[in-house]
Amino acid sequence: MSALLQQPGYEEERLQTVAEQLPCREVQAGMLLSLMGQPHQYSYPSIFIYGHRSSGKSHVMHVLLKELELPHATVSCVECVSVALLFEQVLLSFFGCDAASLLPRSPSLSDFVRIYRQRCSQSPAKQTRYIVMEKAELLRDTDANLLPALLRLQELVEDNVTIILLTDIVWDKFRPNTGCFEPLLLHFPDYSKGELQQILSQDRHPSYSAELYSAYINILLGVFYSVCRDLRELRHLAALNFSKFCEPLTEGKVKETDTHKLWRNIEPHLKKAMQTVYLREVSSLQWEQMQQMEKKENGALRGLSAHTHVELPYYSKFLLIAAYLASFNPARTDKRFFVKHHGKIRKTNFLKKNEKTSNHLLGPKPFPLDRLLAIFYSVVDSRVAPTASIFSQISSLVTLQLLTQVSHGDQLDAPKYKCAVSMDFICAISRTVNFEIVKYLYDFL
């Protein structure tokens, strides 16, 4: 296995440990190593590594750079709320905090390059320096010149430096309009089921045999592989459910070899886990407590999405109902619903062409405040004075994200809103105030 990783210029032992830490990623690691070349050689200016979440991109880079003791700076782009942070972190890890403190208050790219060159001339690189940027897709949102400049940083600073970009998405989505230096692309494919099995089996419980744990992982993958291939999640789930798996063993009912019985015991439990703890309906702490409790009582723990009931003040409910009607009925039909002697309007010849499709399929439409209030006053059963608190309820519905303001917040004149609640939600609300909303919806005529 370790034979795969061979590169002159690095110690054999180190390569061995690297290989041990990177199961199922030997090919990619080997490729990377050959790209990097020997430590003192110049490397390719920029390498672009992409692959799905937890396909080992960061892990491989981290292990390689750390075990081979190469000078490197690892930066997560999420964390860099400003480019200053990015520059600072790079300078800090290459040249120490003196260099970082040289940066002016809001540094530009040229400041960074200047300081880098200055420092670099004082301590020239004996080995290739690496800058690893995680979540590189966020670089697209920063200044337009940042990404192209980073890609050819080697030229700019005249130093043996290589940028490695790690991301989930493909290079095509990165390429700026103006064109840029093309980095080397390297794809990390997803782990296959067998590979997942192999990796997960490595972290076995110290007090149980490797075979047992491997059998457990096999069962786990059987349930979860179809929905989740995220190594991190799978490892988390394995840890959460292992104690339940071992329950019959500790009670002495089953022997370790009797996998079928163990499977029968754990399978329904895992299925339940898939619906609850995997979706974070139930927290992992609660899940663990539940496992301990289960023997005593089968207390059904309600997940997060089970609590959908929202209590609202009486008029807020009607405002929400009015907003829903305004969002899902065409404005021309208001007369038919809310004027007493409207006459008969046949649905068929009343329709415009684009209204024939269900409004519920098209989603909510924006409506002006006036229309909302007009519908509100005709829907609510008692006479309501147009008080300030009615208006403030509208804005509090917006902050609760039950309505969304479509027009810009600065526009005081005739603001527009959209209703952001689901059909089920509004039905539940209107039931509490004895309002039959379906009768007023154009789609359900």
Partner: protein, 721 residues
């Protein structure tokens, strides 16, 4: 002003602080107050009452939140302790950020108090590091980061575009020189902090070598209003935090107003899988209001009372508009202030003994006021003629009578509340809730009029007479418990009687062992007859007979006793639950102006604009503006005239016609002779005034410019002529 300077020059004299006399609260209160002679005393009474209400609400709030806060605290402790486990499972587990989702309900104004209490409690008992952030101060990730760091580290952070901080520690001077808002800064800070506390208390470590809990207090970040946060910002923040969770014991608390599923709406699975979310549900706001009413309204501790209409206004604001208990209490405060400010006799609105003393100190004017009170007038009318004369002339005598009446009023309250509670316990479990589910509804009914004349009351009594034995006994038992708490004489005697009844019920059990009287015989005989007859008419007759006999049949001892008990309760209600308006001197304690409360708490901006434009006299109080209904004096402000004229137009208004009409009206106001040539001519000044008035109307949203016709504006409102 003089200076000690020898040279000539300009000197700036800042006004000395002494001269700028700031009015104290008391001055504000006394200013414009009805009946100034005892206003100071009233101010003191008012303030004392408000202070007690305020402190009591805080205590109440703490108590109500205790449960949820305790479980939250447990959660934080548990989280910070499990972090330090080193067994296999917790090592393998992905390290999630412990997160408490705190569902607080939609009454957002109340949340502040809860969070205040929460962060104080956390700081006291779990960790000194608590930061709470609001959505409106965190528009971008940078700002959120800055706020969090500021609040955790105690303001030693800078963002690039702001001043760098001065406070620099010697050991890390170079580092601090260019501190940025990043969590790694926080990390360093936290490490030095915990190291310091470690070296500061070396004994602690030695004494508890296994558990080093206190060394690692978690960093708690409270998101006060989760819904309002920008999802993007929140996601990024969580991603960043999860990178540091190994080094920093972070913890989140999400304040949620709607439902916990918002978390799933805001965060994708890749982010929410970084959290370990546990749900905490707080008390619903209606329950909260119920306890507040129970504590402040339905009690004799506070002499200040609200009458039915005011209560109705405040409760409907709560139920229909905001669900906010804090606003409800603010409403009570407003009523309290208004009462003491506007009612000179409120000096008697205090504890029994004080009130009696205050009665003796009343001046002649106050006594006259008492004589004018409607309730007191009614009282006088009922007296003997001699007494009537005495009351209206003899000041000393009226004082004595007042003392007695005040005492009576206090007694009335002492009896009212226990009986109200008893009636509520009896009726609140009846089907269809004839007298309301909540005690506040019953209270409102009782405040309005005699509750026993109410139809719902009658039906409730009928239902009570059909209760099963064990139900009735448990209810009566509860009533006994309520009466035990009451201390007045009437209540103790009622208690004794009620206990008597209960004892009789229990005796029935013993008696019931004996064979029941031969009621069955009389019932069985018609049934036998039934079987014989086949004729329809006969059958009907027989059935009617059966019905009759059943109705008139002899009541069982239990039924007799039950009726007796209900009659007894009915008697109590009739003697004690009469509405406060029937009590003499009720004006002293009851605040009645519901219109004022409504105007202050539930403002109607549109109506007030309309009033101002229609009848400027209402606000300006200038006699020249006084007019008949529906017309505007031509001396009114320009905007009123323009408004009035525009009401006469259709949807589109011709600006020139409008201007002409305006000029005519204004010329008349200037007293020009209509026969003059230049009467109604538009000059520059009038033109300018008109334009200003029109643009004011546009600003207020009555008209807008339109492209349909040139020189026209469109009306946005309808109505008028």
């Amino acid at each position: 002003m003089s200076t000690s300077s020898v040279s000539k020059g300009c000197f700036v004299f800042k006004p000395s602080a002494k001269k700028k006399k700031t009015l104290s609260l008391e001055d504000h209160f006394i200013h414009g107050c009805e009946g100034t002679e005892n206003s100071e005393m009233r101010f003191k009474l008012c303030q004392d009452l408000w202070d007690t209400i305020k402190t009591d609400t805080e205590v109440l709030q703490d108590e109500l939140n205790r449960n949820i806060l305790d479980s939250l605290l447990d959660f934080t402790r548990k989280c910070s302790s499990t972090r330090q486990h080193s067994d296999w499972a917790s090592q393998m587990r992905a390290s999630e950020i412990p997160t408490a989702a705190l569902v607080l309900g939609v009454n957002v104004p109340d949340h502040d108090m809860t969070f205040q209490g929460l962060s104080e409690l956390l700081q006291q008992s779990v960790t000194p590091h608590v930061a709470s952030v609001q959505a409106k101060e965190c528009g971008a990730l940078k700002h959120l980061m800055k706020r969090v760091l500021e609040r955790l580290m105690g303001a030693v952070v800078t963002v690039d575009d702001e001043e760098e901080e001065e406070e620099v520690e010697q050991t890390s001077a170079q580092l601090h020189n260019s501190v940025h808002c990043s969590l790694s800064t926080l990390c360093d800070w936290y490490n030095t902090k915990s190291k310091k506390s470690y070296t500061g208390t070396p004994g602690k470590k030695r004494s508890s070598p296994v558990k080093d809990d206190p060394q690692q207090p978690p960093l708690v970040i409270i998101f006060k209003d989760l819904e309002a946060f920008n999802p993007r910002v929140l996601q990024d923040f969580i991603l960043i935090c999860s990178r540091y969770i190994e080094r920093l014991p972070l913890m989140f608390i999400f304040g949620i107003a709607t439902s916990p599923s918002t978390i799933q709406h805001m965060l994708p699975h890749s982010v929410s899988s970084l959290l370990c979310i546990e749900l905490f549900q707080s008390l619903s706001c209606t329950q909260h209001l119920a306890t507040v009413i129970d504590k402040f309204i339905l009690t004799t501790h506070f002499p200040f009372k609200l009458n039915g209409k005011v209560m109705q206004v405040m409760i409907s604001i709560f139920l229909y508009h905001d669900f906010s208990v804090r606003n409800f209490i603010k409403g009570v405060q407003l009523a309290l202030l208004e009462h003491f400010h506007s009612q000179p006799l409120s000096v008697l609105c205090c504890k029994n003994k004080e009130a009696l003393l205050n009665v003796m100190q009343l001046g002649h004017q106050d006594l006259e006021r008492i004589r004018q009170l409607p309730s007191f007038k009614r009282y006088i009318e009922k007296q003997e003629p001699q007494e009537q004369v005495n009351l209206s002339t003899d000041d000393a005598h009226i004082k004595e009578v007042c003392q007695r009446l005040i005492k009576d009023l206090h007694k009335y309250h002492k009896n009212y509340y226990p009986i109200l509670r008893c009636l509520h316990t009896l009726t609140s479990s009846l089907p269809r809730y004839p007298l309301g589910k909540q005690i506040r509804e019953l209270h409102l009914i009782c405040l309005e009029k005699n509750v026993w004349e109410n139809e719902e009351y009658q039906s409730a009594m009928r239902l009570l007479k059909m209760l099963a034995k064990d139900e009735l006994i448990t209810l009566l038992q509860k009533c006994v418990e309520i009466l035990q708490l009451a201390k007045s004489k009437n209540m103790t005697s009622a208690l004794v009687q009620l206990e008597d009844v209960l004892a009789k019920f229990k005796q029935l059990d013993v008696v019931a062992a004996e064979p029941p009287p031969s009621v069955e015989d009389c019932i069985t005989s018609p049934v036998k007859n039934l079987q014989k007859k086949t004729d329809l008419f006969q059958l009907q007759k027989a059935l009617l007979e059966m019905n009759e006999s059943r109705r008139s049949k002899k009541l069982s001892p239990f039924e007799i006793l039950r009726n007796e008990a209900i009659e007894f309760i009915d008697g109590l209600v009739k003697s004690h639950l009469s509405p406060p308006e029937s009590q003499t001197l009720n004006e002293v304690c009851y605040y009645t102006s519901s219109a004022t409360v409504r105007r202050h708490l539930n403002a109607t901006p549109r109506t007030s604009i309309q009033t101002a434009l229609n009848s400027p006299y209402y606000y300006l109080q200038n006699d020249r503006l006084k007019t008949e209904d529906g017309t505007v004096s031509n001396a009114a402000p320009d905007i009123c005239i323009v408004y009035k004229l525009h009401l006469e137009c259709g949807r589109l208004i011709n600006l020139f016609d409008w201007l002409e009409a305006y000029a005519t009206v204004v010329s008349a106001a200037e007293g020009n002779n209509p026969d003059f040539d230049n009467f109604g001519k538009v000059d520059d000044v009038k033109h300018a005034r008109f334009i200003r008035a029109v643009s004011e109307l546009e600003f207020l949203g009555f008209i807008k410019s339109t492209r349909q016709k040139t020189d026209h504006v469109a009306r946005i409102t309808w109505g008028g002529c």
